[in-house]
Symmetry: C2
Subunit: 310 residues, 2 copies
DNA sequence: GCCGCCATTTTGTCCAAGACAAATTTGTTT
DNA sequence: AAACAAATTTGTCTTGGACAAAATGGCGGC
């Protein structure tokens, strides 16, 4: 019977791509260069990744999202990576400390008491008002949930659950604040390849409070259609959201292409956590690394506008 | 000067993949087999697709979503494809006729009077009740918007706008109907690769009305996490939504893998428009081609459950 | 005429190994 | 310390071959 042939859930390269977000080309290239992953082969000679390697790839992905480079981590042994990640976790654990109702949110999430979590969040929103809620509760809570996920304290699906509840709250809030005829007119969406909605929704809520007229297209609008929509909806500003996970290259390429398609008088604001790790500035594009950056940008715009009008 | 070198916005293969949803491998294979697309090459010898070819590829994608096979259409000249698409459009145009407030919805959408459209939809929902609203208004309206898009009467971004407004309404409706402790417990999500939310949201709303306890994870949950969530949330049923655009192969592969990971007593329901064109049935998976199919499935489940209990 | 079964064609994905440009790091000079 | 140049790292693109899964078409039996 020996070690046995319990080939236990080996998966194809397409599955690994789907689950890790690493392209097939990249996976093959790492195998060539760093000797990892080194999948088995099925009867057909095709790569068949065992679950341990998939798990290590997921861990590597976390490091990469934190800005690490593959050369330094892909070949490293699993136990070393785990140890390093634990170290990072310990460091980030210190930061939490303050921040009001967050512990409670995390506690309820981990306990699977989702409805109570939602009620708790709703209560906070009522008490703080939408703006403070976004800046002081949702933003740090997102970070904390991300960290908890990195620490392995919560599962991916729990992060999804959390995200759904927040979206729920924000959509309800947005629904009730409706500023027709407000200025500026902001067209909100994400580029193809960026499927994360939460950042977009938070920006939408924030801008709505500030009296901007928001037109949201949801996620993943093709570039040509963004340009078309901006003309037909007479947008002053196009707001695009980019999550940490988005590939910087795709983002910059897409932004450049969009900028070329647009009239110069339309502003292009690129927001989201991506810009906290990607320094690169692009001509004709304003990058906003956090929600709080929206406020001064908006003030500036209004200053320019009233200056021109005068 | 000749034909000139106005290389006018030629795009990379990655961009074409992003915009059409056709994989790089497929694009290269079509080029080899059918002689189309035949992109120019940039200074670096890499494919550079002119906008006409991108446009034709988009049209081909529409045909494929309707069930046509590439061999028959990829090599066909553009004018023939356009003509055939116009014919199909004319045919579907007849079907509309009936259906109450739909014309109004489409009219407002095309006129960019989005807020009025939302108010109109909200009014219909109030008058009809959520269930009839979903079956008699939203479902046909989705189809009509899809057709209008195929006819070129509305832009992609207008479809996005429509979709956003519907989502808004449904989320508000779901928020107010909250059945803790209901049965069955249904875990709702989509597989990685399926980013369309609307179908999921409609299923969520429908199941909520019927008294099921819904737990939504949003879109694109990795398969292992779906399995984990179903255990930890003690789900009776996992409901997955698949849009027309989803690749059948990926869907079936993912479903098979998930089914293997699950306890046999957990049911797997696969819903969405995909199953109207994909016949293939899979063991241990119940396919639901439309919202209306949910009702009998639910009745059956409750019958089985009460039968076992007795 | 309709259904099930088998052979054939169609089609998408996978593979290998090479190439190169963009991004990042490192080293040097002002 | 900052700016510039050289070296390294890294992801994506290339070709052409191969093959399995899915769809189609033909055939025989009910």
């Amino acid at each position: 019977m020996a070690a046995g042939q319990h080939h236990f859930q080996r998966v194809s390269i397409a599955t690994v791509e789907r689950e890790t977000g690493l392209s097939k080309d990249t996976l093959r290239m790492w195998e060539r260069r760093y000797g990892f992953p080194r999948p088995a082969r099925d009867d057909n000679g095709e790569r068949a990744y065992p679950p341990e390697q998939l798990e290590k790839l997921r861990l590597i992905r976390r490091f990469m999202d934190l800005g690490h480079r593959p050369g330094k981590i892909v070949a490293a042994p699993m136990h070393e990576l785990s140890a390093r990640m634990r170290l990072l976790d310990a460091a980030s654990r210190g930061e939490l400390a303050a921040a009001g109702g967050l512990h409670e949110v995390l506690r309820l999430l981990k306990a699977h008491r989702i409805n109570e979590m939602r009620d708790h969040l709703a209560h906070l929103m009522m008490r703080q008002g939408l703006q403070r809620f976004l800046l002081d509760t949702v933003t740090p809570a997102n970070e904390e949930v991300g960290r908890a996920w990195m620490r392995g304290e919560i599962a991916v699906y729990e992060e999804h659950l959390y995200s759904e509840q927040i979206q729920h709250l924000l959509r309800q809030a947005i629904g009730s604040s409706n500023n027709d005829g407000g200025a500026p007119r902001v067209l909100l969406t994400t580029l193809p390849g960026e499927e994360h909605q939460l950042g977009l929704l938070m920006a939408h809520a924030f801008l709505s409070i500030e009296g901007a007229h928001c037109i949201s297209l949801g996620v993943q609008t093709p570039i040509f259609d963004i340009a078309r929509a901006s003309r037909e909806q007479r947008a002053d500003i196009i707001g695009l959201s980019f999550s940490q996970a988005m590939q910087a290259r795709m983002a910059c390429e897409g932004l450049g292409e969009l900028r070329r398609l647009l009239d110069a008088r339309i502003e292009l604001w690129a927001g989201g956590l991506l810009w906290q790790r990607v320094r690169r500035r692009m001509p004709g594009v304003r990058t906003l690394g956090s929600l709080a950056d929206i406020m001064p940008a908006l003030t500036e715009w209004r200053g320019r506008r009233s200056g021109q009008a005068a």
